[in-house]
């Protein structure tokens, strides 16, 4: 995996700004096309289940892709990314339940709260390396989880935020209508992916890859490593929080499990499943994970056993995610047997 990363990081040196612009246009077009396809989907298939599935993909996809900005691009193995997913869900849910502000205001306010919390937590976490980083993020997540559990008067404790989340219509959008919620989720997903793609392809994104490959060298050439790590930590938190908000709208509530370690574990698993060296890997992983989860839950009550076995297959058998595997296979095929790069 390390050799793959080194290869991928190599072209970073000759990226000029002129090259970035056409790619930006191309990405925007792809995003637009993706949205149009997703928007047409309900007209072709009139299945409610499909719409629900895509909404869940949007929530988890934003979460997983943002986690990959940390894990795959910066080499920060966060084991507490779920806290921002939970923060988004609870922040948005509480705002709608208690204050009665319009949806867009609650959305922006939740992002603002996430920003502040992520800034404080990130400032502490990103100083630490590797395994210590993983643990301190895990600890912060458990801190937030136990706060949710113990602050019963505000959060409902282990019962979760129940009683439904009010969603007054705004700008002609009525989120209590499943089709509207579907379209809004798709829009958020596409916009979120586009923004994250821009971040990954920007000079800042290449700085992150450099920090991942050689943090010492990065700091020698004058990059403030701590600041760059903090920035991506906060940015990733914002997208995870957006995923959490979609989830809160979908289940019309928020539950402590959203901020529990298992959510972060699933996020890491999704990344592993799809692959961490391609931008869309986590998205592929999300779709696979949700299908896998739904099927396994229907077939057996021991779904940890099945899920665990699948994880083992990927971790020990393939040693990489599906997209990584496919990309490598394609490269090998194109360059003929034995030849690489």
């Amino acid at each position: 995996m390390t050799e793959l990363r080194a290869e991928q990081g190599a072209p970073a040196l000759d990226v000029s700004r002129t090259e970035v612009k056409p790619r930006r246009n191309r990405d925007a077009l792809i995003a637009l096309a993706l949205f149009v396809v997703l928007a047409l989907l309900p007209m072709v298939f009139s299945s409610k289940l499909l719409l629900d599935f895509v909404i869940r993909c949007a929530a988890y996809g934003l979460f997983a892709t943002s986690l990959n900005l940390l894990v795959g691009y910066t080499g920060l193995t966060s084991f507490g990314h779920g806290m921002f997913f939970g923060l988004g869900a609870y922040g948005f849910g509480l705002m709608m339940q208690k204050t009665g502000v319009p949806v867009p205001v609650a959305f922006v306010a939740t992002l603002a709260i996430t920003f502040v919390v992520a800034l404080v937590i990130g400032a502490i976490c990103v100083r630490l390396r590797e395994i210590y980083f993983a643990f301190v993020t895990l600890a912060f997540q458990m801190l937030i989880h136990s706060t949710i559990l113990s602050w019963v008067s505000l959060t409902g404790g282990d019962q979760g935020l129940r009683g439904g989340i009010p969603r007054p219509p705004f700008w002609g959008i009525d989120l209590s209508n499943q089709l509207h919620l579907y379209l809004a989720s798709c829009a958020l997903l596409v916009i979120g992916l586009l923004l994250m793609r821009q971040i990954a392809q920007s000079p800042f994104g290449y700085t992150l890859r450099m920090i991942r490959d050689n943090a010492t060298r990065a700091s020698f050439i004058g990059i403030d490593v701590w600041r760059a790590k903090l920035m991506i930590f906060v940015l990733a938190a914002l997208f995870a929080s957006t995923g959490g908000m979609i989830m809160a709208l979908f289940v019309s509530g928020a539950y402590p499990e959203f901020a529990y370690w298992t959510t972060s574990g699933e996020g890491i698993f999704i990344n592993m499943l799809g692959g961490v060296t391609t931008f869309l890997g986590p998205m592929v992983g999300t779709v696979l994970f949700l299908i896998l989860n739904d099927t396994v839950t229907r077939l057996t009550e021991y779904h940890g056993l099945v899920l665990g076995t699948v994880i083992l297959f990927f971790a020990i058998g393939l040693r990489k995610g599906l997209m990584d595997f496919a990309v490598e296979w394609y490269a090998q095929r194109r360059n003929g047997p034995g030849g690489r790069g």
């Binding site: 390390t2 993983a134 113990s150 961490v276 665990g308």
Partner: protein
Amino acid sequence: MDLDALTGCLASSACLVTQITSGFIIGMLLFLVAVGLTLIFGVLKVVNFSHGAFYMFGAYFAMTVYQLSGSFALAMLAGAVGTAIIGLIFERGFMSRVYGADVLMQLLVCYAFVLIFDDVVRMVWGPEFKSMGMPAAFQVMPLFIAGGVVPPYYLLLIGVALAAAVVLGLGLAQTRIGKVIRAAAHNPGMVSALGINTGLIYGGVFALGGMLAGLAGALAAPVRSLTPGMGFSVLIESFIVTVIGGMGSILGALIGALLIGLIRSFGTLGFPLFTEGLMYLFMVIVLVSRPTGLFGKEVA
């Protein structure tokens, strides 16, 4: 928050003794789990995220053997030896394949086994809470120290854990095997070049770590209830302990475990709902002021 209860307790010697003893048994159980974790990390440079499952297996094995044989000593032995075997198989069969790979891969293999082990226990012993019950030998009058109640079983538990700490510390420092283990932790390539089978050492250390966690589970079985997910909270707490004490440090694990035990036992008085939160807060404070823990060295 209930600060009156906390200050009230601090003023009464009976309450102090009771709380300190309960803090010590929490701490000692945690120490046994955490010291295995820290040993495995120190030698293999692997974070064993599935370590909590060994604790769980220890407890279930002890309960089963105790119910079958009625012998407490045999139950403890079963808990320790049974998990040592599982640790050995787990390391040789699976973990050894991801050494040198990404930290992420190692975490994932462990995560997979957390899921698998929990379901295996659910299949074999059922999903509901179980209890082993206190062995008859310990169903005697508790001791009263300065007015505080101290059950004799607690003393046994603390004694066993302390003995394990001493044996482990001396064993690593003085014996030949201990020296080889420390050498393997420091420079596995050199040790293997000297003709020592490092695979055997790695397997052995994993088995030893598993055995200590299993022993902790077996010792905990009479005083805690058993459930398939029981390993996880212990795992998280022992992680906190190792991180506070410094990864790889046995003394650190002991001090860290006692601190967490005391925070828990006094925390339940002052902050009944936020006891867990207190531990995480403490860990954050330690890590912020000393990023490698209290007794940890900077790992290159």
